[in-house]
Symmetry: C2
Subunit: 220 residues, 2 copies
DNA sequence: GTCTATACCGTGATAGAC
DNA sequence: GTCTATCACGGTATAGAC
């Protein structure tokens, strides 16, 4: 039937995206071949090029698919904490929470697709080549919304201090998303780098205190 | 002369390392070919394999060369702040400073070689593939020294909290080392991601406050 | 939309001359 | 130590049948 054909078509396209996501996360853009993607997705080699134009088009499609989803959730969380706060705006801690809760606090890491996506974001954010381009494109429209809320919650703070604080926040978050296991080695197994719930609980107070210490009202 | 021959030999080996460092930093391990390294170093293709065994050997040699240098400086800074402190040990802030000052506070970014190396470390630390392996190998012996000092400066704190705090610290630091320009875009040019001195000044109070907020003495 | 087949080029590695 | 030459393989991309 037509229904089945359409369903099948979608399935293949999504299978290609899923496979590419997992491979890009583990081996980076250049480390992945179109052959590997096709094989993993159990699809013909030419099909990925047909759907996404070329390898870079596939890569961007992988990034865009879940950034749309996650940014919507984060924006919703931000709007929620703004609307439930008074006229003075939400507390700093609530803003910090809204930024990471949709990523770290909902068990996404149990889903293999999301886990691969998180690893990929970690890689991209720290890449001198892609970090200033792809992250700006896919995430910074959302980050700007958070920056506005942070400015309100930190009255009198220098803009530069807010941007740097958010940068440190971003570094802590994305390294966490990478789940490299380094922390397991370092702590002789006492801490698990894939325990995102534990990271989430601790990142909120850590980062909130950092913002408060750095973003004090300007003198004069 | 023999002198010149040896000098030339060393020069070539170092040229290979310098070129590989720059290329690995920008394109990652798989993104770089031995041919690109040879061409950049103006050296024959087979020479890199001769000196370093294979591509992975070259990569490890690149990582090891400067990690030895930088870790020695950091250890020296740590020992200095320990010996100038009293029996109670150094302040938390001094330990945090010792960890990043040799990297961020001495103008290393003006040297192209060091800049490439910093970009490379950023990439490796966030890589699910390499982060839990190469970083453990090349940096964690040093990190363990710092963890010991942190434990003394944060009496009664849970070990897990100290490890997580250091992890957030590491994320903030390595994203800074990447110098991706994302911060420039986000702030409309008000903040420059390659201004490591500005990052250094701000990271110390940010991270110190984070440690203090998270690593409080355990109850009961 | 899907697949077969293939063009064409770059890859890491090494054997062997000098 | 250095270089030439070469191997066997895997890379992206696409033309064209169905």
């Amino acid at each position: 039937m037509a229904k089945t054909a359409v369903k099948n078509k979608v399935r293949r396209k999504d299978r290609i995206l899923d496979t590419a996501e997992a491979l890009f996360a583990r081996m980076g853009f250049v480390g992945v071949s179109m052959r590997m993607v096709a094989e993993g997705a159990q699809v013909d080699l030419a099909l990925a090029s047909y759907h996404f134009g070329n390898k870079r088009g596939l890569f961007d499609a992988v990034l865009a698919r879940r950034s749309d989803i996650i940014n919507e959730k984060r924006l919703e969380a931000l709007r929620d904490c703004i609307s439930s706060a008074g006229a003075a705006g939400p507390e700093l801690e609530a803003i910090v929470d809204a930024f990471i809760q949709p990523l770290l606090g909902v068990g996404l890491e149990k889903d293999a697709g999301w886990r691969h996506y998180m690893e990929l974001i970690a890689l991209v954010n720290s890449s001198h080549e892609l970090g200033g381009q792809a992250m700006t494109q896919f995430f910074d429209p959302l980050v700007n919304e958070f920056i506005q809320a942070l400015k309100k919650a930190l009255p009198g703070a220098a803009e530069e201090d807010i941007y740097w604080s958010h940068h440190f926040f971003s570094g802590a978050l994305t390294l966490t998303l990478a789940q490299t296991g380094r922390l397991d080695n370092l702590s002789s197994g006492k801490v698990k780098s894939n325990d995102l719930e534990a990271a989430y609980r601790r990142m909120v107070p850590f980062v909130t205190a950092g913002f408060k210490a750095l973003c004090k009202p300007e003198k004069g």
